[in-house]
């Protein structure tokens, strides 16, 4: 059992790469959440008192934290499943273009669905196209020296988002738990 655990641990990407990736995910997820919260803010202040308004924001931020950790968990799971040389070694540099692509597609999908539901086949087709492109750029970018260097530098800088959004998410999650308990 211990051997299996050690085996799985060894297959994980470097801690710094995971930290950088989480920073990028937090940037996308929290930024989007905040944009949507402040879009609704003029309506919220018409009927929500301050404690409830703060409570709503706490839910937004707590959910953003959990969603970010969920996305990271998916990426780590893929890293475990794939050969180390394919993904784990280039975890940080590969995730930059893939997450940018995925984040853009998520925003486009949000736009499509802002009216009513688009056709199921339409969505499946585009999800397939996006997945293929993600795999191509995720594979290619880290293997070209220049693009790898640029991607790594960007991810290094983006990692600062951990120090901003992890505390916000953590405090919000704590606040939500308190609200639910009492």
């Amino acid at each position: 059992m211990r051997g299996l655990f050690k085996f799985l641990l060894n297959r994980l990407p470097r801690r710094s790469a995971v930290f950088e990736t989480l920073g990028l995910i937090l940037l996308f997820v929290f930024s989007w959440s905040l944009v949507q919260f402040f879009y609704r803010f003029p309506s919220y202040i018409l009927f929500l008192n301050v404690p409830t308004l703060v409570g709503v924001l706490a839910y937004y931020m707590a959910f953003a934290l959990l969603e970010s950790l969920f996305v990271l968990a998916i990426l780590l799971f893929i890293a475990e499943m794939l050969p180390t040389a394919w993904y784990s070694i280039h975890f940080s540099a590969a995730n930059l273009p893939m997450l940018i692509f995925l984040g853009d597609f998520a925003i486009i999908t949000q736009n499509w669905m802002a009216g009513w539901y688009p056709g199921a086949l339409f969505l499946l087709k585009w999800m397939g196209i996006v997945l293929i492109w993600m795999l191509i750029i995720g594979f290619a970018i880290p293997r070209v020296k220049l693009s790898n260097k640029i991607a790594s530098a960007i991810m290094d800088r983006v990692s600062i988002m951990n120090y901003v959004y992890l505390p916000i998410g953590g405090i919000s999650l704590f606040a939500v738990v308190i609200r639910l308990a009492f």
Binding site: S33, F37, S43, F47, V56, Y60, E67, A106, Y117, R179
Partner: protein, 504 residues
């Protein structure tokens, strides 16, 4: 515990057998033995009196309710104080006008000062309390009454799927905040963007799949698929649910049962859509209202009206089973059944629906039918208000009319006051906490209706004689005219009295 011997075992087995037999016998006892003396308040969402056959509409949309209403009191000029769910429902359950209860906005709630001034608070010591609302916004109003309601059925009780987050027991202590965060923000499943970047669209895709599956399984007979209140539901299940709930009552109860029908999306049975499509009825429409900047054309209004009428008829066909149940079991002889709406719906003046800040008759004139144990049918043409329901229920229940109530018992329960003024009010874009500066305000006295609009995009006065012109085709407002002055002054005085800020 002492060791059981053979004799004890035989005694126990015998008792167990008798007990089982008694349970079976109890279930076989006819319904006449069940609890009596209920007050059942059934609310149909977005149900306009202007589209009900027995209230003067050319299409016979509700033949079953028409038959039931022959032995009930029918109020032909009943006015909802609000033109959408939150203020209309809040007025219905408090007996207060919107400027008092301050549930003005789409997600609004009754202010703390009046939180305990509801029909549930009034009767909680006399009757058991059961509540259900299939409209999420009405459900938030019930959510504030958890201490008074013995049973609060979750919003999605009769829906075919359950993805709603706020009514999960995890959020029991913080339901209103959870609703505003999730259902109206993070993963809202309806128009607009989700605040959840990745999971929101995935949940919407699941919702799409659920809709497809439920329509495949249960959508037969519907013209354009199953009706929806966020999630799909079937009209049959809803009517069955009402019957089961009433049938299961074990003590005299106040039941509040708020269904989403006939709120849009209008999803009628094909049978009724086809019937009305072939009837050649063409409504006479008014000119677009000046407050409407992008009016719908006549074709769209008439086509949507067709769907709406057929949806009402479809629901009426299911409610027939409830009316039959009420007659067959003697419920009508032992209980009061109140059937009304929180607000109306409009297909005229360039408007489809009720998401406009107008106070026209299709939006505020709602049906009210009250079946009492005396089974005497009556028709009342006096103007009555949604705020009158609470005082009337107080009278029915034999309690004092609450001092906070701004209505009075309905005609038939108390003598009508012909000098009385009733009101309708909308202030959805105004803060619930501050002075009322953006609003629509209407008053009806002696069949004349004066309305003043002071909104973001439109300011104006209107005056109608509803006795001679029930469809509001001729605006009588004319500065300097005696009648105009009389009613304008009436409204201005009331604005001052109720703290509404006139800036005209």
């Amino acid at each position: 515990m002492a060791k059981m011997n053979r004799r004890d075992l035989l005694k126990f087995s015998g008792l167990a057998a008798v007990s089982l037999a008694a349970t079976s016998l109890a279930k076989a006892i006819p319904n006449a033995e069940k609890a009596k003396g209920h007050i059942i308040l059934i609310v149909f969402d977005a149900w306009s009196a202007k589209n009900v056959g027995f209230l003067g509409y050319q299409r016979d949309t509700m033949p079953n309710l028409r038959k039931f209403a022959k032995k009930a009191a029918v109020y032909h000029n009943h006015i909802s104080p609000g033109r959408f769910t939150v203020p209309g429902t809040a007025s219905l359950i408090t007996g207060l006008y919107p400027w008092s209860h301050r549930a003005l906005n789409l997600n609004g709630r009754i202010i703390p000062k009046h939180q305990n001034h509801t029909v549930f608070d009034l009767l909680k010591d006399r009757l058991a309390m059961e509540g259900f609302a299939q409209n999420v916004y009405a459900d938030q109003l019930l959510g504030g009454k958890e201490n008074e309601l013995d049973i609060h059925l979750p919003f999605g009780t009769y829906n075919l799927h359950d993805r709603i987050i706020y009514d999960n027991p995890l959020f029991k202590n913080d339901q209103y905040t959870a609703f505003n965060a999730f259902e109206d923000g993070i993963v809202q499943e309806r128009k607009g963007m989700d605040a959840s970047l990745f999971l929101g669209p995935l949940i919407r895709i699941k919702a799409l799949r659920d809709r497809i599956v439920s329509n495949q399984m249960y959508g037969e007979g519907y013209y354009q698929g199953l009706p929806e209140s966020i999630e799909t539901y079937s009209l049959k299940d809803l009517a069955d649910g009402l019957i089961e709930l009433i049938d299961g009552l074990t003590e005299p109860s106040l039941v509040y049962f708020h269904v989403f029908v006939p709120h849009d999306p209008y999803r009628p049975y094909s049978k009724y859509f086809n019937m009305f499509q072939d009837d050649k009825f063409v409504p006479v429409l008014n000119e677009p209202h000046p407050a409407i900047h992008d009016p719908a054309d006549a074709n769209l209004m008439n086509k949507t009206r067709l769907f709406y009428d057929a949806f009402i008829a479809s629901w009426d066909s299911e409610m027939a089973r409830f009316y039959d149940y009420a007659e067959a079991t003697g419920l009508v002889n032992t209980s009061h059944i109140v059937i009304t709406a929180d607000h109306g719906e409009m297909f005229d003046r360039g408007v489809v629906g009720h998401s406009v800040d107008l106070l026209t008759q299709p939006l505020v004139n709602v049906p009210l039918v009250i079946s009492s144990p005396d089974r005497l049918g009556s028709n009342h043409y006096e103007f009555t208000s949604g705020v009158d329901v609470v005082p009337t229920i107080a009278k029915i229940a034999g309690v004092d009319i609450p001092t906070w109530a701004e209505g009075r018992p309905l005609p038939g329960y108390e003598e009508n006051d012909p000098e009385r003024t009733i009101y309708c009010f909308d202030s959805a874009d105004n803060s619930a906490f501050g002075p009322l500066k953006k609003f629509s305000f209407g008053a009806i006295r002696k069949s004349k209706k004066i309305v003043y609009y002071q909104n973001l995009h439109y300011t104006g006065w209107e005056l109608y004689d509803l006795a001679a012109d029930p469809d509001e085709r001729t605006d009588l407002f004319k500065d300097g005219d005696a009648l105009t002055n009389e009613y304008k002054n009436l409204l201005l005085l009331k604005m001052e009295e109720f703290g509404i800020v006139y800036e005209g």
